[in-house]
Symmetry: C2
Subunit: 281 residues, 2 copies
């Protein structure tokens, strides 16, 4: 596996692969790789001639009071894990390489962002869209792999690709979980021991809601208040949101039908965790 830190070198290398007819699979990450990321890399490996992974903690998608400076980093470990999972190229630029000057042309995501994480993180998805527009142009992938844990991010990227005809196919992969059901996340390391135990209720309440819906519940309000109660009674975390929308449009629904997402965010002392489930009935 080759580590590349320069935008120009990465782009030239990838364009060369592309012009020789090879398919490129791309897994963009912010590093501190866990099994969720590795699942994406392994799938990219199975489906492409060339696999590129990027590690870039994108400052543009962090708000002023968010955890940019404390976001966990471990390049040596990441590098080894990426190689073992089948990456051919690891793109690892620093912020001044990606943003040598402030962007003069801004990207604004005007749909699917006034809900869920978008509401509590203004500008977050603008930053996500901008960096992916850049990364897609640098890596020129045929396929890009994203985990469904960030379902709203997937919905936004889907719009970005459609609106601007980006020649990449989005591949989504199921959320990878710990044995007790907690969604894998780079931020889980910041949970205190009791919080780590309590955090199980996030996925558990989503599963209970799913079961309720499969058994006939059609009222979003009833589902959400049941979940709210379950999480409040079983954890010390503060609920940031628990919401239910159509997917991928992320529009409110009065009655549960078609494909919907239930998504939640809960704040613990040093980590804000997200999880979701998508249900088609």
């Amino acid at each position: 596996m080759k580590v590349i830190r320069s935008v120009k070198e990465m782009q030239n290398t990838m364009l060369e692969q592309k012009s020789s007819g090879k398919s490129i699979g791309f897994v963009p990450t912010m590093g501190y790789l866990h099994e969720g990321h590795l699942t994406l890399i392994k799938q990219a490996r199975r489906e492409n001639d060339v696999v590129a992974v990027s590690i870039f903690v994108n400052p543009l998608q962090f708000g002023a009071n968010e955890d940019l400076s404390t976001y966990p980093r471990d390049f040596e470990r990441d590098s080894q894990l990426a190689e073992e999972s089948g990456a051919d190229y690891l793109f690892y630029p620093d912020a001044s390489e990606m943003y040598p000057r402030p962007l003069a042309i801004k990207v604004t995501v005007g749909d699917r962002t006034d809900v869920l994480c978008g509401r509590s993180r203004p500008g977050h998805f603008d930053g996500v869209a901008a960096v992916l527009l850049k990364l897609f142009n640098i890596v020129v992938p045929d396929f890009a792999y994203f985990g469904m844990k960030d379902a709203q991010q997937v919905a936004v990227i889907d719009m970005l690709i459609t609106d601007y005809n980006i020649p990449v196919t989005l591949k989504t992969v199921e959320t990878v979980r710990e044995s007790d059901g907690l969604a894998k996340s780079s931020r889980n390391v910041y949970l205190q021991p009791n919080e780590r135990e309590e955090a199980v209720i996030l996925n558990k309440s989503l599963n209970e809601a799913r079961e309720g819906i499969i058994n006939g519940e059609r009222d979003p309000e009833k589902v959400l208040s049941f979940m709210r109660e379950r999480i409040q009674q079983n954890s010390s975390g503060t609920i940031d949101y628990i919401e239910l929308y159509s997917y991928p449009e992320l529009k409110p629904v009065k009655e549960i039908k078609g494909t919907i997402i239930i998504a939640l965010a809960v704040k613990f002392t040093k980590a804000r965790l997200i999880d979701n489930t998508i249900i088609s009935i």
Copy 2:
């Protein structure tokens, strides 16, 4: 030459050429081709394996009171001229193919646009940037060709390519002129006979200003007031702007030095004409 009207077909065709190692030269136009466009196509032909031309009158870059509906169109003639000049593919989508729904993700150009045409055409360059982002993704060119008549457009595209690492190299070509110096433009057909004669003063005053600067004039105000007088005395047109800036930054200068642009726009009865000159001292 093959005419393609579908985004998907164009993109697949171009990606196939790209993956077989061929270089792609691209000339985006709004049609009604004149010698300026043909010069771009011929240069693309000399420098690339494959030449793609697009004809798309982009509604997003026209303001509410602008000439979208009356913008001149002649597809049969354009098609013949493009083929004769060396185009292999002519991409000719309609508006619903390019914008099946309103863009949910907007592009906003926040620099180099508060002057010249940007000032009198709010949102114009946002529309230009959005359509080029789409076209670059559809045509995947190695080289894209633009005329220097739209110097501000070139400055904006240069920023777009830099900000988002678009894997395309910008090629600019000198403004092509009639024998009397008038810049070729699709809109020249809307000049009345006396206006056509008067319009010669646009280029003439630019040349006179250039001469003055070469002979030592360094005061932008003096250059501009001289030009204003020359145009007012020799034409019935209304001056929209005559301005002088650093290039390509398009920042005001107090003293003429380095590379500068003098650009103007003059409104005649049914046509607004632009022209410019770039001077390096």
